[in-house]
Symmetry: C2
Amino acid sequence: MLKQINFNVKIDKDKYKVLKDELEGKLGVLQRKIKDLKIPVMILFEGWDAAGKGTLINDLMLPLDPRSFSVNCMKEPNYEEINRPFLWRYWETIPEKGRLSIFDQAYYQDLFNKDILKKNQREKMIPEINDFEKTLSNDGTVIIKFFIHISKKEQKRRMKKLLDDPVTAWRVTKTDLKENKNYDRLLEKLETILLQTDTFAGPWTIIEGEVRHYALIKIYQVIVKRLEKAVQKAENSVKPIYKPLITENDDPLRTKILEHVQTNQEMDKITYHKERKLCQKRLRELEYEIYQKRIPVVLAFEGYDAGGKGGAIKRVCKNLDPRGYQVHPTAAPTTEELNHNYLWRFYKNIPKCGHVEIFDRTWYGRLMVEPIEGFCTQVEYDRAFSEINAFERQLTDFGAIVLKFWMQISYDEQERRFKEREANPEKQWKITDEDWRNREKWGAYSVAVDRMILKTSTEKAPWIIVEGDNKYYARIKVLKAIISAIENKIKEQNC
Amino acid sequence: MLKQINFNVKIDKDKYKVLKDELEGKLGVLQRKIKDLKIPVMILFEGWDAAGKGTLINDLMLPLDPRSFSVNCMKEPNYEEINRPFLWRYWETIPEKGRLSIFDQAYYQDLFNKDILKKNQREKMIPEINDFEKTLSNDGTVIIKFFIHISKKEQKRRMKKLLDDPVTAWRVTKTDLKENKNYDRLLEKLETILLQTDTFAGPWTIIEGEVRHYALIKIYQVIVKRLEKAVQKAENSVKPIYKPLITENDDPLRTKILEHVQTNQEMDKITYHKERKLCQKRLRELEYEIYQKRIPVVLAFEGYDAGGKGGAIKRVCKNLDPRGYQVHPTAAPTTEELNHNYLWRFYKNIPKCGHVEIFDRTWYGRLMVEPIEGFCTQVEYDRAFSEINAFERQLTDFGAIVLKFWMQISYDEQERRFKEREANPEKQWKITDEDWRNREKWGAYSVAVDRMILKTSTEKAPWIIVEGDNKYYARIKVLKAIISAIENKIKEQNC
């Protein structure tokens, strides 16, 4: 891609002015359409040091309406960022629907700049980037990627010019000079990376950065073209049909999982309290160990209403140092959250190294309530299995422990608990008409959950089904599962 | 996926009969619709030894119209097959549009069965399989994958039953018995493989193989559901618009590659003949070496009409042992070829180890003539870059040398050659009105070819641009490029 670039390009001055005016006009119109049609747009600028990324971004910003774009300039990751998977900070900044996010270097810098990165690390990052872009693109995000290219000679010339002027000399660092020295070797590496990340979801455009006017017009044209295409697609697309996708009678011969769960396990109060205390003590010790060993932990809880999620989470946290963990209840998404990819609000809360994040309901809403209530389309639902597996793989590849608990109770036990809640003034808040309505969809949930457990239970991020009719039994099972997963991980690390 | 399966499933006899009749009726109707709508369908059966795959396939065949399905039973690869990438023999058997291909074990057996396969080999095969299924699915192929699952105990019981009867004892091999012994270890491996290949394009359905009636009904239901979905999609889809996608004025600021090629290189006749003889002698030696070293070689030639492809190919082959190479001219696709994925006809001809296959025009038609003439849709065109890169990566990962020559001549030189052909009675057959018409699209071709070279020139499968106005120069450049690529590969192997 870079090797074929010839810098012998030009655009004459008069033509430049005419084209610039014309394209800026189009950009303005398109930006408004993008907003109306709620299309998110990401524009990435990558390139050599001294290639002129900053200048070009400044030029591009001028004709845009500042109310609906933002520029992200992300340099060295900070402490919070370095302690999470490298894409985390970019997930934070993905554009809201209808907005443009411009990146003065994004996740590719993590691939490009670090000589320290070993080849096998890079090879792991590339599929993660491709998955990330595909997830966003599937969801309608337009991803436009520019690589601003200059030759070794031109880079040297520019650096020299900066160094010669005392006002600008500070801008050229030792790393920059080293980049110029190693230009040819780096070029080979870049070529491979660009080719491997030049995808249908996120294609690259190489910009001849030596000729500024030419570069700007080319950038304008590519953006106009991609946005026009997206606008046309959005205008012509059939309005998606939102309707319940899963019913009780759906797929009666599916693999049945929940049906075979013996929810009526037993445990008496005395055993429970004895075991609980032992487990909580051990968990506190382990919390300290994972902090020392920098292991992140994700605990995800799902289950039928009144299935015992809250009670179990309370017992997990009971003895923990509150600086080391956090509980995230998941309510209906806010408007801001609806304006982003559905994984966005969860990605924000993934743990940093050594911390525990507990989710009371999770991203699995996309595979349960959303298809059952008709909040997502068939394609969004079908695609979510691999998107969620990719999301969790990113966490486990980073070294996180990921455990997913399904709290299963019997249909009768749920009724008993609902009625008990209604009868008890202190618990009345916990039960609403909504809960009774959901109960009518018990069958549809069984279908959705069976499929979900079948398709997203992976070796490193397994579903643990908790037999929940007896709360004592259920809580101890959860505690022991967490303890054993952490102990195994520590053992594995010590090997 | 397998671990969650519970074999405690049943279907009562009366219900079975009703459902079977109903589903067989539906299957018949759907098969006709599939044929009319030209949808290709692949149905894969994988599973444990003695799981009953064969019986289930036989049952499935009964209600189908034999004129539009075929069953492929592919066991150990033969000599031709083992000397090519493992997916080759499956490419050969992909279904034609409107037909069903049923596989009694397909490419997954290469992953599942071989204990000898090392983990890293398997990890390379999985992305290849996923790419393969995605390429076919993008093109409209419905991919239905069944894994017939039985427990260790049941497998043992069935094997014992076979062994006890002298008539069937021969069917149980030592490998089968070993599989049962290692069942648990294999289960872990299978679980990982199934999860990693459970994609949007090719989702898995696990079949409870212990209960035959239940299994059959489940298989029927899944097929009916998938086909109904595909039929509905095809019936509702907007007819694709076929129109020229690339014009001369398209994307004037694109990376220009051809424009900078100095086509007017020089070489005199005497130098040419001297060099040619040396090169041809050396190439003959190398042909023997690659045969010895089992290296497959792909030489692909593209270029403007009268660009010198034929002449160059002739000089390459001049001295070669005809048993070691073959030339494949690429004409307009036949109906049979049009009824398959566009890569199918090229995949058929990839070289086996130690052989050279030369393509006079290639799969790059999808990136040149097809978008220019409007023979493919925009999405098909956009997707083809990564599909072709994946196709070539499969070859180079297998160890093949892949060289792609672009024969570039100037616009004036083409005119001169066209006129010369018209004037020479012996060469008149080489020039048609079609050629003059294509010449008018020179500009559009430049746009398409620039983009093609930019996006598909990879380190291991590079494009070599040949300055072609002087035929002598061009031919020697081609010969030397081939020689040096083979020499480098041999050097690399010797390291």
